[in-house]
Subunit: 231 residues, 2 copies
DNA sequence: GCGAAACTGTCACATCCCTGTCACGGAACC
DNA sequence: GGTTCCGTGACAGGGATGTGACAGTTTCGC
């Protein structure tokens, strides 16, 4: 089982190899480049789940890479951890404010870096960290493929499972039907928009057993969202 | 204008005061307790947006607090940053694996901590890091499609939502009915000018619940504007 | 393999909320 | 006081969503 795709931008070959070895041992798929421009290219072609970015690299600066990754729509949400030799506070702050999610100063231990990557991934994509997804009294175990509400197991069809999973990974956020079709069904499939409604209904029916309050909010002319006061 | 609620668990009074001052200066609302058990109580009563947790505190350990916060459904998704004097790798890794989102070793600069908090919040709750449109005691979260006044959620129809959003994006500015029709309804639609009045009225009605002061100012023979002393 | 059960995507219909418009009355301006 | 502009209540129509049913397909147990 793969833990996630990781893009490593590091121009020190020794360090790059070391990190690559460690992450691959932890079942990450690692793409590596020493070059900032190539990193941007790779990132936009197949967006990774996380980017490890050295501050001092050849070509454009790490900070600039960070900025551009954030600006491109297809990579705007990819978390970034910056690696750096500088320990100066001003740089750290600048890195974090540019959109980096974390900041690790050399020398660091690979094990700690792996743990940090997991921590960030757990937050961004809980499923990739093999965790329990929770929201209110609802919980989903990705590994065992089980969903519970208030401790009671709920049977879900495959589509409803993926749909709920998507909502749990982005709680509170509103998704249009088209967006849901892309994310849950697949970008290439040609399916009627209204089909989403039907599956939302089936999902609601399943998780609201026993008169539990609604968790899926309908946002008229916008889509659906997971929400506490859902009705 | 508040940036978010922060729960500080720290038993060193001097450090606690320092951090509290810094975060309050940055418009965070800070709740503070030196005690682990009380922290859990506070967290479950009114879940904060983020928790700053000292590793070494009186009573139960920070690690245990972390674990329990994660286990409780109502706080399972609250991010945690651990503060610690220990620099040992094993502890860092253990903290991150227990569910902490970040880990800062003393001594650290308050400014850096603030930046880290912002980085984590940006990831967890985009709404708290700039996706939030605010004006007076009114706030609109674009992503979750929610509008609140004085903390209370307000239901809005699609058109009223777009209308309010337009005002919030250009606070204080006066827009003619024709201009609003262009921006909010669409340049191509052919709609009666006076229709704007009706939607302004509906919007006012919605956001002025409970005798709250008027926020939309009528500018005779010119149009409408978002304004503090709106009437 | 084979039959049963479960799942999926659509449709038609029902329902509800939203929407644009109007007419009337009141307020502001000169 | 007259004129212009704005606020308001009502209302019919339409658009968006909820719902039940159904045929085709896949999956599963045997």
């Amino acid at each position: 089982m793969m833990n996630g795709k990781l893009l490593l931008v590091e121009d020190d070959p020794a360090l790059a190899d070391l990190l690559k070895w460690h992450f691959e041992r932890e079942d990450f798929h690692v793409a590596h480049t020493p070059d900032g421009d190539e990193a941007l290219l790779l990132a936009s072609e197949t967006p990774p789940d996380i980017i490890l970015l050295d501050w001092m690299i050849e070509g454009i600066s790490g900070l600039e890479v960070c900025r551009r990754v954030r600006r491109a729509p297809e990579t705007a949400n990819v978390p970034i951890i910056m690696l750096t030799g500088r320990g100066e506070e001003a740089d750290r702050v600048r890195g974090l404010e540019t959109g980096a999610d974390d900041y690790v100063t050399k020398p660091f231990s690979p094990r700690e870096l792996v743990a940090r990557v997991r921590a960030v991934l757990r937050r961004v994509r809980p499923a990739l960290a093999g965790e329990l997804l929770k929201f209110a009294d609802l919980e989903m175990d990705i590994v065992s493929h089980k969903v519970k509400r208030a401790g009671k197991t709920i049977p879900l069809g495959p589509t409803e499972f993926r749909l709920l999973r998507h909502f749990l990974e982005h709680p509170g956020r509103v998704f249009s039907r088209a967006r849901l079709l892309d994310s849950v069904w697949g970008r290439d499939r040609d399916i009627e928009l209204r089909t989403v409604d039907v599956h939302i209904r089936r999902l609601r029916q399943a998780i609201n057993i026993g008169g539990k309050p609604e968790l899926i909010r309908t946002v008229r002319s916008a889509g659906y969202a997971l929400d506490d006061d859902g009705g």
